[in-house]
Protein backbone atom coordinates (compact mmCIF):
# COMPACT_ATOMS: atom_id res chain seq x y z
CA UNK A 1 0.00 0.00 0.00
CA UNK A 2 1.29 3.42 -0.91
CA UNK A 3 0.75 6.52 1.14
CA UNK A 4 -2.55 6.80 3.01
CA UNK A 5 -4.51 10.02 3.09
CA UNK A 6 -7.19 10.90 5.51
CA UNK A 7 -10.36 8.97 4.65
CA UNK A 8 -12.45 12.10 5.09
CA UNK A 9 -10.72 13.76 2.14
CA UNK A 10 -12.68 13.88 -1.06
CA UNK A 11 -11.34 11.52 -3.77
CA UNK A 12 -9.40 13.36 -6.48
CA UNK A 13 -9.81 10.67 -9.11
CA UNK A 14 -13.29 9.26 -9.50
CA UNK A 15 -14.76 6.55 -11.69
CA UNK A 16 -12.88 3.56 -10.25
CA UNK A 17 -9.94 4.11 -12.62
CA UNK A 18 -7.08 1.73 -13.27
CA UNK A 19 -3.66 2.90 -14.44
CA UNK A 20 -4.47 1.76 -17.96
CA UNK A 21 -7.74 3.68 -18.03
CA UNK A 22 -6.01 6.85 -16.91
CA UNK A 23 -3.62 6.59 -19.84
CA UNK A 24 -6.49 5.89 -22.21
CA UNK A 25 -8.72 8.70 -20.97
CA UNK A 26 -6.06 11.39 -21.07
CA UNK A 27 -4.26 10.36 -24.26
CA UNK A 28 -7.40 9.73 -26.30
CA UNK A 29 -8.15 13.41 -27.07
CA UNK A 30 -4.78 13.74 -28.76
CA UNK A 31 -5.37 10.66 -30.89
CA UNK A 32 -8.84 11.00 -32.31
CA UNK A 33 -9.92 13.40 -35.05
CA UNK A 34 -10.88 16.83 -33.73
CA UNK A 35 -14.53 17.31 -32.84
CA UNK A 36 -16.71 19.80 -34.64
CA UNK A 37 -16.77 22.00 -31.54
CA UNK A 38 -12.97 22.12 -31.56
CA UNK A 39 -12.87 23.02 -35.25
CA UNK A 40 -15.40 25.82 -34.81
CA UNK A 41 -13.61 27.14 -31.73
CA UNK A 42 -10.29 26.98 -33.54
CA UNK A 43 -11.64 28.91 -36.51
CA UNK A 44 -13.04 31.64 -34.28
CA UNK A 45 -9.78 31.85 -32.33
CA UNK A 46 -7.84 32.01 -35.57
CA UNK A 47 -10.02 34.78 -36.92
CA UNK A 48 -9.42 36.80 -33.76
CA UNK A 49 -5.71 36.07 -33.91
CA UNK A 50 -5.76 37.41 -37.46
CA UNK A 51 -7.26 40.65 -36.13
CA UNK A 52 -4.42 40.76 -33.63
CA UNK A 53 -1.87 40.33 -36.38
CA UNK A 54 -3.46 43.01 -38.53
CA UNK A 55 -3.91 45.56 -35.75
CA UNK A 56 -0.40 45.11 -34.39
CA UNK A 57 1.17 45.30 -37.85
CA UNK A 58 -0.91 48.42 -38.42
CA UNK A 59 0.55 49.89 -35.24
CA UNK A 60 4.09 49.03 -36.22
CA UNK A 61 3.66 50.30 -39.77
CA UNK A 62 1.74 53.51 -39.03
CA UNK A 63 3.27 54.23 -35.66
CA UNK A 64 1.92 54.52 -32.17
CA UNK A 65 -0.16 57.54 -33.23
CA UNK A 66 -2.86 55.08 -34.25
CA UNK A 67 -3.53 54.73 -30.53
CA UNK A 68 -5.27 57.41 -28.53
CA UNK A 69 -2.36 57.94 -26.12
CA UNK A 70 -1.50 61.55 -25.43
CA UNK A 71 0.94 63.66 -23.50
CA UNK A 72 -0.49 62.81 -20.09
CA UNK A 73 -1.87 59.35 -20.72
CA UNK A 74 1.27 57.64 -21.95
CA UNK A 75 0.07 54.19 -21.02
CA UNK A 76 -3.38 53.02 -21.97
CA UNK A 77 -4.76 49.69 -23.06
CA UNK A 78 -1.30 48.44 -23.98
CA UNK A 79 0.08 48.23 -20.46
CA UNK A 80 -3.37 47.40 -19.06
CA UNK A 81 -3.43 44.34 -21.28
CA UNK A 82 0.18 43.51 -20.54
CA UNK A 83 -0.36 43.48 -16.78
CA UNK A 84 -3.63 41.62 -17.22
CA UNK A 85 -2.00 38.82 -19.20
CA UNK A 86 1.03 38.61 -16.94
CA UNK A 87 -1.28 38.35 -13.97
CA UNK A 88 -3.21 35.52 -15.60
CA UNK A 89 0.04 33.70 -16.08
CA UNK A 90 0.71 33.62 -12.36
CA UNK A 91 -1.85 30.95 -11.53
CA UNK A 92 -0.02 28.26 -13.47
CA UNK A 93 3.17 28.65 -11.52
CA UNK A 94 1.27 28.98 -8.28
CA UNK A 95 -0.54 25.70 -8.89
CA UNK A 96 2.51 23.83 -10.06
CA UNK A 97 5.13 25.27 -7.73
CA UNK A 98 3.60 26.60 -4.53
CA UNK A 99 1.01 23.86 -4.26
CA UNK A 100 3.73 21.29 -4.92
CA UNK A 101 5.69 22.62 -1.98
CA UNK A 102 2.55 22.55 0.14
CA UNK A 103 1.91 18.95 -0.99
CA UNK A 104 -1.56 19.77 -2.25
CA UNK A 105 -2.52 16.70 -4.24
CA UNK A 106 -5.39 18.35 -6.06
CA UNK A 107 -2.89 20.29 -8.11
CA UNK A 108 -2.19 17.20 -10.23
CA UNK A 109 -5.52 17.47 -12.01
CA UNK A 110 -5.04 21.01 -13.23
CA UNK A 111 -1.33 21.80 -13.15
CA UNK A 112 -0.47 20.82 -16.73
CA UNK A 113 -3.17 22.94 -18.32
CA UNK A 114 -2.53 25.80 -15.92
CA UNK A 115 1.17 25.81 -16.76
CA UNK A 116 0.36 25.77 -20.46
CA UNK A 117 -1.98 28.68 -19.82
CA UNK A 118 0.87 30.52 -18.09
CA UNK A 119 3.08 30.18 -21.13
CA UNK A 120 0.38 31.24 -23.57
CA UNK A 121 -0.54 34.20 -21.37
CA UNK A 122 3.12 35.13 -21.49
CA UNK A 123 3.16 34.99 -25.26
CA UNK A 124 0.27 37.46 -25.26
CA UNK A 125 1.81 39.71 -22.61
CA UNK A 126 5.10 39.74 -24.51
CA UNK A 127 3.36 41.05 -27.63
CA UNK A 128 2.22 44.14 -25.75
CA UNK A 129 5.71 44.73 -24.45
CA UNK A 130 7.06 44.58 -27.98
CA UNK A 131 4.38 46.70 -29.61
CA UNK A 132 4.27 49.41 -26.97
CA UNK A 133 7.97 50.11 -27.48
CA UNK A 134 7.02 51.92 -30.68
CA UNK A 135 9.85 50.42 -32.72
CA UNK A 136 9.45 46.72 -32.17
CA UNK A 137 12.46 45.86 -34.31
CA UNK A 138 14.72 47.69 -31.88
CA UNK A 139 13.38 45.78 -28.88
CA UNK A 140 16.78 44.22 -28.24
CA UNK A 141 17.94 47.64 -26.99
CA UNK A 142 16.47 46.73 -23.60
CA UNK A 143 19.12 44.08 -23.02
CA UNK A 144 22.58 45.08 -21.79
CA UNK A 145 24.71 44.02 -24.72
CA UNK A 146 28.06 45.49 -25.80
CA UNK A 147 27.10 48.11 -28.36
CA UNK A 148 28.83 50.69 -30.53
CA UNK A 149 27.42 53.61 -28.56
CA UNK A 150 30.12 53.60 -25.94
CA UNK A 151 29.08 50.94 -24.93
CA UNK A 152 26.18 52.73 -23.32
CA UNK A 153 24.48 50.41 -20.86
CA UNK A 154 20.90 50.16 -19.72
CA UNK A 155 19.85 51.70 -16.41
CA UNK A 156 20.11 49.03 -13.73
CA UNK A 157 18.34 51.31 -11.26
CA UNK A 158 15.11 51.28 -13.24
CA UNK A 159 12.23 48.93 -12.37
CA UNK A 160 11.42 48.80 -16.07
CA UNK A 161 14.74 47.07 -16.61
CA UNK A 162 14.19 44.78 -13.64
CA UNK A 163 10.98 43.87 -15.38
CA UNK A 164 12.89 42.83 -18.50
CA UNK A 165 14.88 40.37 -16.42
CA UNK A 166 11.96 39.25 -14.31
CA UNK A 167 9.69 38.56 -17.25
CA UNK A 168 12.30 36.79 -19.35
CA UNK A 169 13.44 34.67 -16.40
CA UNK A 170 9.89 33.82 -15.50
CA UNK A 171 9.04 32.85 -19.07
CA UNK A 172 12.14 30.65 -19.33
CA UNK A 173 11.64 28.90 -16.00
CA UNK A 174 7.93 28.34 -16.69
CA UNK A 175 8.71 26.73 -20.02
CA UNK A 176 11.39 24.51 -18.47
CA UNK A 177 9.14 23.47 -15.61
CA UNK A 178 6.28 22.70 -17.95
CA UNK A 179 8.39 20.77 -20.39
CA UNK A 180 10.25 18.69 -17.82
CA UNK A 181 6.85 17.64 -16.52
CA UNK A 182 5.66 16.84 -20.03
CA UNK A 183 8.56 14.55 -20.98
CA UNK A 184 7.24 11.35 -19.30
CA UNK A 185 3.73 11.97 -20.60
CA UNK A 186 4.95 12.59 -24.13
CA UNK A 187 6.74 9.24 -23.80
CA UNK A 188 3.39 7.67 -22.94
CA UNK A 189 1.86 9.16 -26.07
CA UNK A 190 4.90 8.00 -28.07
CA UNK A 191 4.55 4.42 -26.89
CA UNK A 192 0.91 4.34 -27.93
CA UNK A 193 1.51 5.93 -31.33
CA UNK A 194 2.55 4.40 -34.64
CA UNK A 195 4.51 5.49 -37.68
CA UNK A 196 5.12 9.18 -38.22
CA UNK A 197 3.40 10.24 -35.00
CA UNK A 198 5.67 7.90 -33.06
CA UNK A 199 8.74 9.55 -34.57
CA UNK A 200 7.54 13.05 -33.77
CA UNK A 201 6.69 12.17 -30.17
CA UNK A 202 9.96 10.21 -30.02
CA UNK A 203 11.88 13.41 -30.69
CA UNK A 204 9.89 15.46 -28.21
CA UNK A 205 9.95 12.87 -25.41
CA UNK A 206 13.76 13.04 -25.35
CA UNK A 207 14.22 9.24 -25.14
CA UNK A 208 12.43 8.83 -21.83
CA UNK A 209 12.20 5.22 -20.59
CA UNK A 210 10.89 5.55 -17.03
CA UNK A 211 14.02 4.21 -15.36
CA UNK A 212 13.95 4.36 -11.56
CA UNK A 213 16.98 6.62 -11.33
CA UNK A 214 15.54 8.98 -13.94
CA UNK A 215 12.31 9.22 -12.01
CA UNK A 216 14.21 9.98 -8.84
CA UNK A 217 16.13 12.79 -10.53
CA UNK A 218 12.96 14.00 -12.22
CA UNK A 219 11.21 14.30 -8.88
CA UNK A 220 14.20 16.03 -7.37
CA UNK A 221 14.36 18.44 -10.31
CA UNK A 222 10.63 19.20 -10.09
CA UNK A 223 10.91 19.93 -6.41
CA UNK A 224 13.87 22.27 -6.76
CA UNK A 225 12.34 24.03 -9.77
CA UNK A 226 9.23 24.49 -7.65
CA UNK A 227 11.36 25.91 -4.87
CA UNK A 228 12.92 28.34 -7.32
CA UNK A 229 9.69 29.24 -9.06
CA UNK A 230 7.91 30.11 -5.82
CA UNK A 231 9.96 33.20 -4.93
CA UNK A 232 10.19 33.90 -8.64
CA UNK A 233 6.44 34.13 -9.13
CA UNK A 234 6.21 36.47 -6.15
CA UNK A 235 9.08 38.57 -7.47
CA UNK A 236 7.68 38.99 -10.97
CA UNK A 237 4.48 40.75 -10.07
CA UNK A 238 6.26 42.62 -7.31
CA UNK A 239 8.57 44.04 -9.94
CA UNK A 240 5.65 44.76 -12.28
CA UNK A 241 4.11 46.75 -9.43
CA UNK A 242 7.43 48.61 -8.96
CA UNK A 243 6.94 49.99 -12.49
CA UNK A 244 4.16 52.03 -10.90
CA UNK A 245 5.12 52.23 -7.25
CA UNK A 246 8.55 53.79 -7.74
CA UNK A 247 7.11 56.68 -9.73
CA UNK A 248 5.87 59.88 -8.08
CA UNK A 249 2.35 59.77 -9.46
CA UNK A 250 -0.33 60.01 -6.73
CA UNK A 251 -2.21 56.74 -6.56
CA UNK A 252 0.84 54.81 -7.78
CA UNK A 253 3.43 55.79 -5.22
CA UNK A 254 2.35 53.32 -2.56
CA UNK A 255 4.06 50.53 -0.67
CA UNK A 256 0.94 48.37 -0.75
CA UNK A 257 1.41 47.70 -4.45
CA UNK A 258 3.64 44.59 -4.39
CA UNK A 259 1.47 42.33 -2.18
CA UNK A 260 -1.68 43.74 -3.72
CA UNK A 261 -0.48 43.06 -7.25
CA UNK A 262 0.64 39.53 -6.39
CA UNK A 263 -2.71 38.68 -4.80
CA UNK A 264 -4.51 40.21 -7.77
CA UNK A 265 -2.40 38.23 -10.21
CA UNK A 266 -3.18 34.94 -8.50
CA UNK A 267 -6.83 35.93 -8.32
CA UNK A 268 -7.13 36.66 -12.02
CA UNK A 269 -5.01 33.64 -12.94
CA UNK A 270 -7.24 31.24 -11.08
CA UNK A 271 -10.28 32.79 -12.71
CA UNK A 272 -8.80 32.10 -16.13
CA UNK A 273 -7.89 28.55 -15.08
CA UNK A 274 -11.53 28.04 -14.07
CA UNK A 275 -12.79 29.44 -17.37
CA UNK A 276 -10.52 27.12 -19.31
CA UNK A 277 -10.84 24.01 -17.16
CA UNK A 278 -14.62 24.07 -16.99
CA UNK A 279 -14.76 24.06 -20.78
CA UNK A 280 -11.91 21.58 -21.15
CA UNK A 281 -13.17 19.01 -18.66
CA UNK A 282 -16.51 19.02 -20.38
CA UNK A 283 -15.20 18.97 -23.94
CA UNK A 284 -12.57 16.28 -23.33
CA UNK A 285 -14.69 14.34 -20.82
CA UNK A 286 -12.18 14.68 -18.02
CA UNK A 287 -14.73 15.06 -15.24
CA UNK A 288 -13.15 12.16 -13.36
CA UNK A 289 -9.81 13.94 -13.13
CA UNK A 290 -10.90 17.53 -12.74
CA UNK A 291 -13.67 16.99 -10.24
CA UNK A 292 -16.04 19.35 -8.48
CA UNK A 293 -13.59 19.06 -5.58
CA UNK A 294 -10.86 20.61 -7.74
CA UNK A 295 -13.16 23.42 -8.79
CA UNK A 296 -14.11 24.03 -5.18
CA UNK A 297 -10.47 24.20 -4.11
CA UNK A 298 -9.75 26.79 -6.77
CA UNK A 299 -12.83 28.76 -5.76
CA UNK A 300 -11.50 28.90 -2.24
CA UNK A 301 -8.29 30.45 -3.54
CA UNK A 302 -10.33 32.89 -5.63
CA UNK A 303 -12.28 33.86 -2.53
CA UNK A 304 -9.13 34.30 -0.47
CA UNK A 305 -7.16 36.31 -3.03
CA UNK A 306 -10.23 38.30 -4.08
CA UNK A 307 -10.79 39.34 -0.51
CA UNK A 308 -7.13 40.22 -0.12
CA UNK A 309 -7.40 42.44 -3.18
CA UNK A 310 -10.57 43.95 -1.75
CA UNK A 311 -8.86 44.72 1.54
CA UNK A 312 -6.07 46.38 -0.45
CA UNK A 313 -8.63 48.58 -2.28
CA UNK A 314 -10.15 49.68 1.00
CA UNK A 315 -6.75 50.18 2.61
CA UNK A 316 -5.74 52.41 -0.28
CA UNK A 317 -8.82 54.52 0.23
CA UNK A 318 -8.25 54.75 3.97
CA UNK A 319 -4.58 55.63 3.63
CA UNK A 320 -5.35 58.27 1.00
CA UNK A 321 -7.76 59.94 3.41
CA UNK A 322 -5.58 59.40 6.48
CA UNK A 323 -2.39 60.68 4.83
CA UNK A 324 -3.84 64.17 4.60
CA UNK A 325 -2.07 64.52 1.25
CA UNK A 326 -4.47 66.27 -1.08
CA UNK A 327 -3.06 64.87 -4.31
CA UNK A 328 -3.41 61.30 -3.05
CA UNK A 329 -6.90 62.08 -1.78
CA UNK A 330 -7.87 63.55 -5.12
CA UNK A 331 -6.47 60.56 -7.02
CA UNK A 332 -8.78 58.20 -5.18
CA UNK A 333 -11.75 60.54 -5.28
CA UNK A 334 -11.16 60.81 -9.01
CA UNK A 335 -11.05 57.02 -9.42
CA UNK A 336 -14.40 56.53 -7.75
CA UNK A 337 -16.20 59.70 -8.90
CA UNK A 338 -14.19 61.00 -11.85
CA UNK A 339 -14.74 60.47 -15.57
CA UNK A 340 -13.85 56.77 -15.32
CA UNK A 341 -16.14 56.00 -12.37
CA UNK A 342 -17.70 53.07 -14.24
CA UNK A 343 -14.32 51.32 -14.44
CA UNK A 344 -13.75 51.74 -10.71
CA UNK A 345 -17.15 50.40 -9.77
CA UNK A 346 -16.87 47.54 -12.24
CA UNK A 347 -13.60 46.66 -10.55
CA UNK A 348 -15.07 46.90 -7.06
CA UNK A 349 -18.11 44.84 -7.97
CA UNK A 350 -16.35 42.08 -9.87
CA UNK A 351 -13.34 41.70 -7.60
CA UNK A 352 -14.56 42.45 -4.13
CA UNK A 353 -18.33 42.05 -3.99
CA UNK A 354 -19.34 39.19 -6.25
CA UNK A 355 -16.62 36.66 -5.25
CA UNK A 356 -18.04 36.74 -1.72
CA UNK A 357 -20.69 34.38 -3.05
CA UNK A 358 -18.07 31.66 -2.62
CA UNK A 359 -18.51 31.70 1.13
CA UNK A 360 -21.38 29.31 0.41
CA UNK A 361 -20.28 25.77 -0.27
CA UNK A 362 -23.21 25.24 -2.59
CA UNK A 363 -21.99 28.10 -4.80
CA UNK A 364 -18.37 26.94 -4.74
CA UNK A 365 -19.48 23.56 -6.03
CA UNK A 366 -21.79 24.89 -8.72
CA UNK A 367 -20.20 24.78 -12.16
CA UNK A 368 -22.43 27.41 -13.74
CA UNK A 369 -21.90 29.88 -10.91
CA UNK A 370 -18.17 29.22 -11.03
CA UNK A 371 -18.01 29.80 -14.76
CA UNK A 372 -19.94 33.06 -14.61
CA UNK A 373 -17.86 34.21 -11.65
CA UNK A 374 -14.64 33.40 -13.47
CA UNK A 375 -15.69 35.65 -16.34
CA UNK A 376 -16.64 38.37 -13.84
CA UNK A 377 -13.22 38.17 -12.23
CA UNK A 378 -11.47 38.30 -15.60
CA UNK A 379 -13.39 41.46 -16.43
CA UNK A 380 -12.90 42.95 -12.97
CA UNK A 381 -9.17 42.41 -13.00
CA UNK A 382 -8.87 43.97 -16.42
CA UNK A 383 -10.70 47.03 -15.10
CA UNK A 384 -8.43 47.13 -12.08
CA UNK A 385 -5.40 47.63 -14.29
CA UNK A 386 -7.28 50.16 -16.40
CA UNK A 387 -8.26 52.10 -13.29
CA UNK A 388 -4.71 52.11 -11.98
CA UNK A 389 -3.18 53.15 -15.29
CA UNK A 390 -5.49 55.32 -17.37
CA UNK A 391 -7.59 56.92 -14.64
CA UNK A 392 -4.54 57.96 -12.70
CA UNK A 393 -2.71 59.37 -15.70
CA UNK A 394 -5.71 61.27 -17.00
CA UNK A 395 -5.75 63.53 -13.91
CA UNK A 396 -2.24 64.72 -13.19
CA UNK A 397 -1.05 67.41 -10.76
CA UNK A 398 -1.78 70.21 -13.22
CA UNK A 399 -5.44 70.65 -14.16
CA UNK A 400 -4.28 72.42 -17.33
CA UNK A 401 -2.80 69.19 -18.60
CA UNK A 402 -5.70 66.96 -17.69
CA UNK A 403 -6.87 64.86 -20.58
CA UNK A 404 -9.08 61.93 -21.40
CA UNK A 405 -8.29 58.72 -23.12
CA UNK A 406 -10.39 56.19 -24.97
CA UNK A 407 -9.03 53.39 -27.13
CA UNK A 408 -9.05 53.47 -30.93
CA UNK A 409 -10.12 50.50 -33.04
CA UNK A 410 -6.47 49.50 -33.28
CA UNK A 411 -6.09 49.12 -29.53
CA UNK A 412 -9.39 47.29 -29.19
CA UNK A 413 -8.37 45.05 -32.09
CA UNK A 414 -5.06 44.19 -30.51
CA UNK A 415 -6.70 43.31 -27.21
CA UNK A 416 -9.56 41.23 -28.63
CA UNK A 417 -7.04 39.67 -30.99
CA UNK A 418 -4.72 38.71 -28.17
CA UNK A 419 -7.53 36.66 -26.64
CA UNK A 420 -7.77 34.90 -30.00
CA UNK A 421 -4.03 34.29 -29.98
CA UNK A 422 -4.29 32.82 -26.48
CA UNK A 423 -7.10 30.47 -27.40
CA UNK A 424 -5.43 29.44 -30.65
CA UNK A 425 -2.38 28.30 -28.69
CA UNK A 426 -4.47 26.59 -26.04
CA UNK A 427 -6.58 24.75 -28.59
CA UNK A 428 -3.46 23.49 -30.35
CA UNK A 429 -2.07 22.38 -27.00
CA UNK A 430 -5.10 20.25 -26.11
CA UNK A 431 -4.73 18.47 -29.45
CA UNK A 432 -1.04 17.61 -29.23
CA UNK A 433 -0.22 17.01 -25.57
CA UNK A 434 -1.95 15.37 -22.60
CA UNK A 435 -3.86 18.14 -20.80
CA UNK A 436 -3.66 16.36 -17.46
CA UNK A 437 -0.36 15.16 -16.04
CA UNK A 438 -0.74 11.40 -16.57
CA UNK A 439 2.17 10.24 -14.41
CA UNK A 440 1.20 12.50 -11.54
CA UNK A 441 -2.41 11.31 -11.57
CA UNK A 442 -1.20 7.71 -11.46
CA UNK A 443 1.08 8.65 -8.59
CA UNK A 444 -1.82 9.87 -6.45
CA UNK A 445 -4.32 7.21 -7.55
CA UNK A 446 -3.73 4.90 -4.60
CA UNK A 447 -4.09 7.61 -2.03
CA UNK A 448 -6.80 9.70 -3.70
CA UNK A 449 -8.70 7.40 -6.08
CA UNK A 450 -12.30 6.80 -5.08
CA UNK A 451 -11.99 3.00 -5.09
CA UNK A 452 -9.21 3.23 -2.53
CA UNK A 453 -11.18 5.48 -0.25
CA UNK A 454 -12.93 2.59 1.45
CA UNK A 455 -9.71 0.64 1.76
CA UNK A 456 -8.02 3.63 3.35
CA UNK A 457 -10.91 4.00 5.73
CA UNK A 458 -10.67 0.36 6.74
CA UNK A 459 -6.96 0.70 7.20
CA UNK A 460 -7.44 3.73 9.44
CA UNK A 461 -10.02 1.87 11.54
CA UNK A 462 -7.77 -1.14 11.92
CA UNK A 463 -4.94 1.05 12.98
CA UNK A 464 -7.09 2.81 15.54
CA UNK A 465 -8.29 -0.54 16.83
CA UNK A 466 -4.81 -1.96 17.15
CA UNK A 467 -3.57 1.18 18.87
CA UNK A 468 -6.36 0.96 21.42
CA UNK A 469 -5.52 -2.59 22.33
Amino acid sequence: MGSITSPIREPLVTGNKTYGQITEDICAPTERAPSLAWVVAFMIANALAAIFLFASLWTVWQGIGTWDLNRTVGWGWDITNFVWWIGIGHAGTLISAILLLFRQKWRTGVNRAAEAMTIFAFVCAGQFLLIHMRRAWLAFFIFPYPNTRGPLWVNFNSPLLWDVFAISTYATVSILFWYVGLIPDLATVRDRARGFRKRIYGIFSFGWTGSAKHWQRWESLSLILAGLATPLVLSVHTIVSFDFATSVIPGWHTTIFPPYFVAGAIFSGFAMVQTLMIITRYALKLEDYITIGHIESMNKIILLTGTMVGVAYLTELFVAWYSGYIYEQFAFFNRAMGPYWFAYWAMMTCNLVTPQIFWWKKMRRNIYVTFIMSIFVNIGMWYERFVIIATTLARDYLPSSWSLYSPTWVEVGIFIGSIGLFFTLFLVFVRVAPVVAIAEIKHILKSSGDQYQEKNERYAEQKQFSEKN
Partner: protein, 175 residues
Amino acid sequence: MAKSKNVLFGLYDDDDILVDAIKTAKNQKLDIMDVFTPFPVHGLDPALGLAESRLHIAGFVFGLIGAITAMGFMSWISVSDWPIIYGGKPYWAVPSFIPITFELTVLFSAVGMVIVFLTICGLGPGVSAKVLDPRITDDKFCLAFDVSNMEEDEQTGLRKFFEETGASEINSKTI
Protein backbone atom coordinates in the same frame (compact mmCIF):
# COMPACT_ATOMS: atom_id res chain seq x y z
CA MET B 1 28.45 3.51 -27.89
CA ALA B 2 27.84 0.91 -25.25
CA LYS B 3 27.60 -2.72 -26.27
CA SER B 4 24.09 -4.04 -26.67
CA LYS B 5 22.73 -6.02 -23.76
CA ASN B 6 20.53 -9.04 -23.45
CA VAL B 7 17.84 -8.12 -20.98
CA LEU B 8 15.49 -10.49 -19.21
CA PHE B 9 12.58 -8.63 -17.72
CA GLY B 10 9.39 -9.28 -15.87
CA LEU B 11 6.29 -7.11 -16.09
CA TYR B 12 4.18 -6.61 -13.01
CA ASP B 13 0.65 -5.28 -12.90
CA ASP B 14 0.92 -3.25 -9.74
CA ASP B 15 3.47 -1.04 -8.05
CA ASP B 16 3.07 -2.74 -4.66
CA ILE B 17 3.84 -6.18 -6.17
CA LEU B 18 6.86 -4.64 -7.87
CA VAL B 19 8.24 -3.15 -4.66
CA ASP B 20 7.77 -6.51 -2.90
CA ALA B 21 9.55 -8.27 -5.78
CA ILE B 22 12.45 -5.84 -5.53
CA LYS B 23 12.76 -6.53 -1.82
CA THR B 24 12.80 -10.27 -2.53
CA ALA B 25 15.44 -9.77 -5.23
CA LYS B 26 17.57 -7.77 -2.84
CA ASN B 27 17.27 -10.53 -0.23
CA GLN B 28 18.35 -13.10 -2.81
CA LYS B 29 21.23 -10.75 -3.74
CA LEU B 30 20.17 -10.62 -7.40
CA ASP B 31 21.85 -7.94 -9.48
CA ILE B 32 19.00 -5.73 -10.76
CA MET B 33 19.88 -3.86 -13.96
CA ASP B 34 17.07 -1.33 -13.78
CA VAL B 35 13.45 -0.80 -12.92
CA PHE B 36 11.06 0.96 -15.27
CA THR B 37 7.76 2.37 -14.11
CA PRO B 38 5.03 4.58 -15.59
CA PHE B 39 5.24 7.02 -12.69
CA PRO B 40 7.52 7.67 -9.69
CA VAL B 41 6.61 4.79 -7.39
CA HIS B 42 6.51 5.50 -3.68
CA GLY B 43 9.11 3.52 -1.75
CA LEU B 44 11.02 2.38 -4.81
CA ASP B 45 14.23 4.27 -4.11
CA PRO B 46 14.84 2.85 -0.62
CA ALA B 47 13.91 -0.65 -1.82
CA LEU B 48 16.43 -0.39 -4.64
CA GLY B 49 18.94 1.26 -2.38
CA LEU B 50 19.34 4.28 -4.68
CA ALA B 51 21.44 7.07 -3.23
CA GLU B 52 19.67 10.43 -3.01
CA SER B 53 19.98 12.55 -6.13
CA ARG B 54 22.68 15.19 -5.97
CA LEU B 55 21.00 17.40 -8.53
CA HIS B 56 20.43 20.13 -5.97
CA ILE B 57 24.20 20.66 -5.74
CA ALA B 58 24.19 21.56 -9.43
CA GLY B 59 21.30 23.92 -8.75
CA PHE B 60 23.22 25.65 -5.99
CA VAL B 61 26.42 26.00 -8.00
CA PHE B 62 24.66 27.40 -11.05
CA GLY B 63 22.66 29.74 -8.86
CA LEU B 64 25.84 31.03 -7.27
CA ILE B 65 27.35 31.60 -10.71
CA GLY B 66 24.23 33.52 -11.70
CA ALA B 67 24.33 35.71 -8.61
CA ILE B 68 28.03 36.50 -9.03
CA THR B 69 27.59 37.18 -12.75
CA ALA B 70 24.72 39.59 -12.21
CA MET B 71 26.18 41.46 -9.26
CA GLY B 72 29.66 41.58 -10.79
CA PHE B 73 28.46 42.74 -14.19
CA MET B 74 26.23 45.49 -12.84
CA SER B 75 28.89 46.65 -10.39
CA TRP B 76 31.56 46.80 -13.09
CA ILE B 77 29.29 48.80 -15.41
CA SER B 78 28.06 51.24 -12.77
CA VAL B 79 31.32 51.82 -10.95
CA SER B 80 34.00 51.43 -13.57
CA ASP B 81 32.88 51.21 -17.18
CA TRP B 82 30.39 54.07 -17.40
CA PRO B 83 29.50 55.59 -14.03
CA ILE B 84 26.32 57.65 -14.06
CA ILE B 85 24.53 59.16 -11.08
CA TYR B 86 20.86 58.21 -10.98
CA GLY B 87 18.66 60.11 -8.58
CA GLY B 88 21.54 61.18 -6.37
CA LYS B 89 22.35 57.61 -5.43
CA PRO B 90 25.88 56.26 -5.19
CA TYR B 91 27.36 54.60 -8.26
CA TRP B 92 27.39 51.27 -6.50
CA ALA B 93 23.66 51.27 -5.63
CA VAL B 94 23.41 47.76 -4.22
CA PRO B 95 19.68 47.77 -3.32
CA SER B 96 18.87 48.56 -6.94
CA PHE B 97 20.89 45.58 -8.09
CA ILE B 98 19.15 43.02 -5.89
CA PRO B 99 16.13 42.29 -8.13
CA ILE B 100 18.24 41.49 -11.18
CA THR B 101 20.71 39.50 -9.08
CA PHE B 102 17.83 37.43 -7.77
CA GLU B 103 16.38 36.88 -11.23
CA LEU B 104 19.66 35.75 -12.72
CA THR B 105 20.30 33.43 -9.76
CA VAL B 106 17.02 31.69 -10.48
CA LEU B 107 17.57 31.71 -14.23
CA PHE B 108 21.07 30.22 -14.10
CA SER B 109 20.06 27.68 -11.48
CA ALA B 110 16.98 26.47 -13.38
CA VAL B 111 18.58 26.33 -16.81
CA GLY B 112 21.75 24.74 -15.44
CA MET B 113 19.87 22.10 -13.51
CA VAL B 114 17.73 21.10 -16.46
CA ILE B 115 20.81 20.78 -18.66
CA VAL B 116 22.56 18.68 -15.99
CA PHE B 117 19.44 16.55 -15.57
CA LEU B 118 19.19 15.85 -19.29
CA THR B 119 22.93 15.18 -19.58
CA ILE B 120 23.29 12.74 -16.70
CA CYS B 121 20.12 10.91 -17.69
CA GLY B 122 21.26 10.78 -21.30
CA LEU B 123 18.07 12.43 -22.48
CA GLY B 124 17.64 14.96 -25.23
CA PRO B 125 15.83 15.73 -28.46
CA GLY B 126 16.40 12.94 -30.94
CA VAL B 127 17.63 10.38 -28.42
CA SER B 128 15.93 7.11 -29.27
CA ALA B 129 14.43 5.45 -26.22
CA LYS B 130 15.48 1.89 -25.45
CA VAL B 131 11.96 0.75 -24.74
CA LEU B 132 11.68 -2.78 -23.38
CA ASP B 133 7.93 -2.78 -23.68
CA PRO B 134 5.65 0.04 -24.82
CA ARG B 135 3.25 -0.65 -21.97
CA ILE B 136 5.83 0.44 -19.39
CA THR B 137 4.77 4.06 -19.86
CA ASP B 138 1.16 2.95 -19.53
CA ASP B 139 0.36 0.49 -16.72
CA LYS B 140 3.14 -2.13 -16.50
CA PHE B 141 5.94 -2.11 -13.96
CA CYS B 142 9.15 -3.62 -15.22
CA LEU B 143 12.03 -5.26 -13.37
CA ALA B 144 15.00 -5.94 -15.65
CA PHE B 145 18.14 -8.07 -15.35
CA ASP B 146 21.17 -7.94 -17.60
CA VAL B 147 21.72 -11.54 -18.77
CA SER B 148 24.41 -10.88 -21.40
CA ASN B 149 27.02 -12.85 -19.45
CA MET B 150 24.74 -15.33 -17.76
CA GLU B 151 24.55 -19.06 -18.03
CA GLU B 152 21.35 -20.79 -19.03
CA ASP B 153 20.63 -22.17 -15.55
CA GLU B 154 21.06 -18.77 -13.93
CA GLN B 155 18.50 -17.39 -16.37
CA THR B 156 16.13 -20.20 -15.49
CA GLY B 157 16.55 -19.19 -11.87
CA LEU B 158 15.59 -15.62 -12.73
CA ARG B 159 12.52 -16.82 -14.59
CA LYS B 160 11.54 -18.79 -11.53
CA PHE B 161 12.07 -15.68 -9.41
CA PHE B 162 9.71 -13.72 -11.67
CA GLU B 163 7.07 -16.41 -11.42
CA GLU B 164 7.32 -16.57 -7.67
CA THR B 165 7.08 -12.83 -7.18
CA GLY B 166 3.94 -12.55 -9.29
CA ALA B 167 5.12 -11.15 -12.62
CA SER B 168 2.35 -11.23 -15.19
CA GLU B 169 4.77 -11.59 -18.12
CA ILE B 170 8.38 -12.61 -18.59
CA ASN B 171 10.19 -11.50 -21.73
CA SER B 172 13.67 -10.95 -23.05
CA LYS B 173 15.00 -8.34 -25.42
CA THR B 174 18.31 -7.11 -26.77
CA ILE B 175 18.82 -3.40 -26.35
